[in-house]
């Protein structure tokens, strides 16, 4: 399996990370060497093996759905890159 420039562009789109053409070439080389390394797993027969999805195989505990932190809107909005007292602001999405 080789990761060509077209695939790199496709992954970059899916990842929402813009990549210029110079970087795409280098990235394709890096990804190819990493995938060559990863593909060692193909040697193993895992047909009958159950996937391990969580190492802490405990049942999730239930808790009451209660509000614990109150009146933190101002503090939270302080971290937003575009300043506004009441809302998060994004570029216009509807004309």
């Amino acid at each position: 399996m080789t990761i060509d420039l077209k695939t790199v562009k496709h992954i970059s789109k899916l990842s929402r990370i813009s990549i210029d053409d110079n970087k795409a070439k280098k990235l394709s080389d890096d990804l190819n060497s990493i995938f060559k390394f990863i593909e060692k797993l193909e040697e193993l027969d895992t047909e009958k093996i159950e996937p391990l999805t969580s190492i802490a195989e405990t049942n999730l505990k239930l808790r009451k759905d209660e509000i614990k932190s109150k009146n933190i809107r101002e503090d939270i909005l302080k971290n937003s890159p575009e300043d506004n007292k009441d809302f998060f602001v994004v570029p216009k999405v509807v004309e």
């Binding site: 990842s15 990493i34 990863i38 890159p81 994004v90």
Partner: protein, 485 residues
């Protein structure tokens, strides 16, 4: 009191409790040395003034029942600290001030600890040399232009240079144990579920675990007691009875069966590391332990598995950095353009590489071939350990396949950088506890570490074995303060 910084954490605690020294004196001593040590670049954010105030408050109303009474500590900048900037080593969080405290740092505060600053790390903990940090390389106090390991590189550097009496890091594939090994310090990765992940900037949620980094094993036991707790804010936190790790620490390893996995004898490993390993085995035998050869047949598949599972989880965890609610934002023509530019400019190359690997292995048509396959191999790796632990109580290996390398030596080849974690990654995949302790030097005088791996939730056992090895080895770090003019 010029020697405060030379005292061990447990000695500082005793002296403060006996009122021989004040929290203010201790805090000031570590801050003074930190200010003289900027050349190491261990810190991202200093909290010195605030810390000195807290120390004075402690001295006015001391509580000597606390486990860290008025003790100053700098912590890895991956832990959210309320109102103290938390960057995860990334430009995208350059100006992020958490509105809440991580459980692990809250536990430190609750036991009387004082946060003096936030320590440098690889960006989002992705790296093995601290060279991916947006805030620059960190120097290893052992020698100039040597990496301190990673991702907890600021932590290992600050600890070895005595800028903090102890610290905490996080370990997803070796990020506590490898930097500890590179700096001649002790690093413990607890069992998955022992320390809460709440408030730790997430990298790979099924692998991430916080743990202590200290000058010695006794301090490690003390710190583990402080930071390990059940937490209902982390759904994978495990509600088990935590030990009194410090009180129960002892060097008696008589009758312990220690496994030696032959698969860890890798090609090209320096002779010194093999000799060190043998030295460790001899110490165990001399102290009444038994050495047993074991088989971990799937060891060679651990790194490829890790480089599917970790990036897959990272690509999902890092989707939240979109320039909307917090962090860096770039200007774009429209919403999508803003997302793409924000993430392109806000993340560094290694982080982007891993997000893209993760996105690819989870994408339609490739999920079964990569991600599902890796989860199956992860089961095989865990089964290897389960089988081995039917015969042995713990496992002894080297911590790393080499000593610390020069800054810039491995940055051009991601795969050679990944190979650093060959002995540490399998333990994260299996969720087990492991401790790295300094055990010798290579021919350049750089430290080398041994790793003791335990059964799940058997931290006391590996602390005791490490304690016994430590007493017999009597390791000394050669640090000559070259960075202080």
């Amino acid at each position: 009191m010029s020697n405060i910084i030379d005292l061990k954490l447990f000695e500082l605690v005793e002296k403060i409790k006996k009122k021989e020294i004040s929290s203010n004196e201790v805090t000031k001593a570590f801050i003074d040395r930190s200010q003289k040590s900027k050349k190491l670049n261990s810190y991202i954010t200093e909290n010195f003034e605030n810390a000195l105030q807290k120390a004075k408050q402690f001295d006015e109303k001391p509580d000597f029942n606390k486990k860290l009474p008025g003790i100053p500590l700098a912590v890895k900048d991956l832990f959210c600290t309320k109102n103290i900037r938390t960057t995860a080593g990334s430009k995208i969080l350059e100006n992020f001030f958490p509105t809440y405290e991580s459980t692990v740092t809250q536990n430190i505060l609750d036991e009387g600890g004082i946060i003096i600053g936030k320590l440098n790390c690889d960006e989002f903990a992705m790296g093995s040399s601290n060279e991916t940090s947006f805030f620059g390389n960190v120097q290893n106090p052992i020698s100039e232009n040597l990496v301190p390991g990673g991702s907890s590189g600021g932590s290992s550097s600050a600890l070895a240079a005595k800028l903090t009496p102890a610290t905490i890091g996080t370990d997803t594939g070796g990020s506590i144990r490898q930097p500890a090994s590179f700096t001649g310090t002790v690093g413990l990765k607890p069992t998955y579920g022992s320390c809460s992940r709440y408030g730790i900037v997430a990298f790979a949620s099924s692998l991430d675990q916080a743990g202590p980094m200290t000058q010695n094993v006794k301090d490690s036991a003390l710190m583990l007691e402080v930071i390990s707790s059940y937490d209902n804010k982390d759904s994978t936190s495990v509600d088990f009875k935590r030990g009194q790790y410090l009180k129960d620490l002892n060097e008696n390893i008589k009758g312990k069966k220690i496994g030696i996995p032959k698969q860890y004898r890798v090609d090209g490993m320096p002779k010194e590391i093999d000799e060190l390993w043998k030295k460790g085995m001899k110490i165990i035998e001399d102290n009444g332990g038994e050495i047993i050869e074991i088989n971990l047949p799937n060891t060679n598949y651990a790194l490829p598995t890790y480089y599917i599972v970790a990036p897959a989880e990272a690509s999902s965890n890092l989707a939240r950095y979109d320039g909307v609610k917090y962090g860096f934002r770039s200007k774009g023509k429209n919403l999508i353009d803003m997302y793409e530019k924000t993430r392109s400019e806000g993340f560094g190359d290694e982080v982007k590489r891993r997000i893209m690997i993760g996105t690819y292995v989870l994408s339609s048509g490739y999920y079964d071939a990569y991600y599902l396959k890796a989860q199956k191999v992860r089961r095989l790796i865990k089964n290897d350990f389960d089988q081995a632990y039917k015969k042995v109580d713990a496992i002894l290996t080297p911590s790393t396949p080499s000593s610390a390398f020069k800054i810039g030596e491995k940055t051009n080849d991601p795969v050679s950088m990944y190979l650093n974690d060959i002995f540490t990654v399998p333990i994260n995949l299996a969720g087990l506890p492991a401790i790295s302790i300094p055990a010798g030097h290579d021919k350049s005088g750089y430290p080398l570490g041994l790793q003791v791996i335990g059964k799940a939730f058997d931290e006391q056992n590996i602390l005791n074995i490490a304690y016994s090895i430590e007493k017999n080895i009597n390791f000394k770090n050669n640090i000559n303060d070259w960075w202080i003019n």
